[in-house]
């Protein structure tokens, strides 16, 4: 099962390779990994999308915690979270296709961030399904280049024990 793990780490050189090395050395999967500094410049935030059964995820969380540069690990699947991914897509647009491309951009609330006579560069954010969908629609026009950020995610509220969480959901 897919899990999104949010990891707060020291903002030091070599930390990314320690985390990446842990995953490769122990044969865990990384589907995507994004990292950037937080408000506190001494720390960085990583969002790791991984997959595995319960035992593997437990090991991943424990092993991450064991790394000395890791300050905090949260398995976001234990709570509610929102996640987003951004893709930048460069599409070929012949004259006849340009209007169609713009219609697709409109439907997905994407933006055209660059334009040449033969191409549009489109920026789109959303969950992976939405990004998959726009890619599917743009593909017939001819996608020249595609880059994705990998997912970032945040818990919808402070992470509390599951039991507390259920009560709250019930009240709503």
């Amino acid at each position: 099962m897919e899990h999104i793990i949010s990891v707060t780490v020291e903002n030091k050189f070599g930390v990314l390779s320690r985390v990446a090395g842990l995953f490769s050395g122990r044969g865990f999967n990384i589907e995507s990994l994004s990292v950037a500094p937080t408000l506190d410049p001494s720390m960085s935030q990583m969002t790791i999308v991984t997959s595995g059964d319960e035992r593997i995820i437990e090991q991943i969380v424990k092993q991450l915690n064991k790394l000395i540069d890791v300050i905090k690990v949260v398995d976001l699947n234990e709570t509610e979270f929102v996640s987003r991914e951004t893709a930048i897509i460069k599409v070929h647009t012949k004259d006849a296709d340009r209007a169609e491309a713009l219609r697709i951009v409109d439907i997905f609330r994407a933006n055209v961030i660059d334009s040449t006579p033969g191409t549009y560069t489109i920026e789109v954010s959303g969950d992976p399904k939405k990004i998959g969908a726009i890619i599917n629609l743009l593909q017939p026009l001819g996608i020249k280049e595609l880059v994705r950020t990998g997912r970032v995610a945040v818990a919808r509220e402070p992470v509390r024990p599951v039991s507390v969480q259920t009560k709250k959901v019930a009240r709503e």
Partner: protein
């Protein structure tokens, strides 16, 4: 007053109470060596290979419980010490390794003797540091010792570029360390400990399964109290030997692939496994899905990742073995009474029956070739009153040493468990000897293993480390040959060494003493002479070449399905085959 990086390095080591550094110089660490040369507080033991330096530091750490320290140069110095770091990481040995690095301005330029020391050591150290500024050096060394010796101990590397050791800075050594991402748990969860105590009081067929964590945490006394109070039998892992007295009636000896029959049967049929400072290694569990199928599992370990890594655990307790056992004993003292003994009588009857059915055994004929087990057994009997430290290499001799050398106390057993590093034993013994100059330190080795770090004999002679090496010489990589006999149809692919050097002459060439025991009649005399000799000694004992180590659980087999002796076709082959013993013995003698 300002100090150079090299001086700061030495001041820090003194503050950490380091007395001995195992080291080998090179271009980028010359400043440090030059400064070390001009002081008297820290002894330098110059090794002949950096791997030796690493293993010596490990031996020192295992025997003393303090961090071992080694110092190597950049490039090849670093790559040579990697094996020792990996070994220390697997066996949780507190080690601080200092490596030289090319000057900061040259890092990344493929400079002479440059290697990415941080990248190389990352997967085999607990943590590593590159010191880029001399002002950070003291705090970094403090953190390195702190990380190496706290929590689950392990090796830490500090990489010091040449210009950092030459540059000057004000010296101040921090009193304490605080690392926000590193806070080991020492006290176990009280509720979980209570659960464990209840399970222990109720269990009819409990077993203690103790590992190296008990040794490093210094929890032997607490373990002894727990076992005696509750009358629970004790299984030890290879790393746990010495944690519980080997001759104690509650001790079942070593468990696992070459463990005793009763130790493995007991764990298989128990209803409660109490794992203390052990990690359910595959050499212990055998087939994981059928490991202790009837038992509830309590797991006490300081490293949360060890828990539920291989085996489902019912009552996990994260904490230091000593602290948790003390707490557990306190609860049990109030609840345990004579009833448990009555409750467990059938269990003990069963264990006695297993013990009697298949004790450790071998056949030693009086005028036949010497059996390797006999050598270990006699060595044990002749030295046990002197409370020796025993190191081993890796292979058959290691398993026989584990089976027959029954240690009474912890920190006497130096062996490479997790990584299984041949060549570990001799330098490790020297490291322990450097810590305890007046103790008897024995190294039980195989003829294959000893040749992997033979060069350190020069160190032993020059640095006056009077280690006694006993080589069980079968001119085979014996464990490999055993597997080939059992699982590869007896094809000895690259396991037959055919000829080994004349170890007696070799010892003499290094300026040490060499002895040989050719017959049973010689054995005792030669061993005694070795023990009484002052300097380092090699005792070469040509043994029966085809002896196999039993019991044995084939890899991936179940713990209750042990091989107890050579299968009939193998016996027949060895009795009638062309590899007859007497002529073999002749080859040894004329070799």
């Amino acid at each position: 007053m300002k100090l150079t990086g090299a001086q700061i390095f030495i001041e820090c080591l003194k503050r950490e109470g380091v007395k001995t550094v195992f080291a080998l110089p090179g271009g980028v660490v010359l400043k440090i060596f030059d400064t070390l040369h001009q002081q008297k507080d820290i002894e330098i033991i110059l090794t002949r290979h950096e791997q030796g330096a690493g293993h010596m530091a490990e031996g020192y750490a295992k025997a003393t419980g303090k961090a071992g320290v080694c110092l190597v140069t950049s490039g090849p110095g670093m790559t040579n010490v990697i094996t020792a770091l990996a070994d220390a990481y697997m066996d949780s040995v507190p080690l601080v390794c200092f490596s030289g690095q090319v000057p900061t301005s040259l890092i990344g330029n493929d400079a002479f003797q440059e290697a990415d020391n941080i990248g190389l050591s990352r997967p085999c150290t607990k943590y590593n540091f590159l010191v880029k500024d001399v002002n950070d050096l003291a705090a970094t060394i403090k953190e390195a010792f702190y990380i190496a010796t706290t929590g689950r101990p392990g090796p830490v590397l500090v990489d010091i570029p040449k210009d950092v050791s030459m540059a000057e800075a004000e010296f101040s050594y921090p009193n304490s360390v605080s690392i926000r991402g590193y806070n080991p748990t020492y006290e176990g969860n009280k509720w979980q400990i209570k659960q464990a105590a209840e399970a222990i009081a109720k269990a009819r067929k409990p077993i203690l399964y103790v590992g190296g964590g008990v040794v490093f945490s210094g929890a032997s006394q607490e373990l002894l109290e727990l076992a005696e109070m509750t009358q629970i039998p004790v299984d030890m892992t290879l790393m746990g030997l010495g944690a519980f007295p080997g001759e104690h009636p509650l001790s079942l000896g070593m468990m696992g692939m070459h463990g005793t029959y009763e130790a493995n049967m007991a764990v298989h049929y128990s209803d409660l496994v109490i794992a203390v400072g052990s990690r359910f290694d595959d050499r212990v569990t055998g087939k994981v899905s059928e490991f202790c199928p009837h038992a509830k599992v309590i797991h006490i370990d300081i490293d949360p990742t060890s828990i539920r890594k291989n085996i489902h655990v019912d009552i996990p307790i994260v904490g230091d073995c000593k602290a948790v056992l003390r707490e557990l004993n306190q609860i049990l003292r109030a609840t345990v009474n004579g009833e448990q003994k009555e409750l467990r009588k059938p269990w003990w009857d069963q264990i006695q029956a297993w013990r009697q059915a298949h004790p450790l055994t071998y056949q030693q004929e009086k005028d036949g070739p010497i059996k390797p087990q006999q050598v270990v057994k006699r060595l044990y009997e002749l030295t046990k009153d002197r409370d020796p430290i025993v190191s081993t290499d890796v292979g058959q001799h290691q398993m026989w040493a584990a089976q027959y050398f029954k240690l009474a106390k912890p920190n006497r057993w130096l062996t490479s468990g997790g990584l299984g590093t041949m060549g570990f034993g001799f330098p490790a013994a020297m490291g322990a000897q450097a810590a305890f100059r007046n103790r008897l330190v024995l190294c039980i080795a195989g003829d294959g293993s000893i040749q992997m770090n033979m060069q350190e004999m020069a160190t032993a002679v020059v640095s006056k480390l009077p280690v006694k090496i006993i080589i069980l010489n079968n001119r085979f990589h014996g464990m490999v040959r055993q597997w080939q006999d059992l699982f590869y149809n007896g094809r000895y692919a690259s396991s037959d060494l055919e000829n080994t050097p004349d170890f007696v002459k070799l010892a003499e060439a290094y300026g040490a003493v060499g002895l040989r025991a050719n017959t049973m009649a010689d054995l005792d005399g030669v061993l005694k002479k070795a023990i009484e000799t002052e300097g380092p000694v090699i005792v070469d004992v040509p043994t029966y070449r085809f002896e196999n180590c039993y019991p044995m659980i084939p890899a991936g087999g179940c713990n209750h399905e042990m091989l107890l002796e050579d299968p009939p076709e193998l016996k027949q082959k060895q009795a009638g085959g062309k590899n007859v013993t007497p002529e073999d013995k002749d080859t040894v003698l004329t070799a």
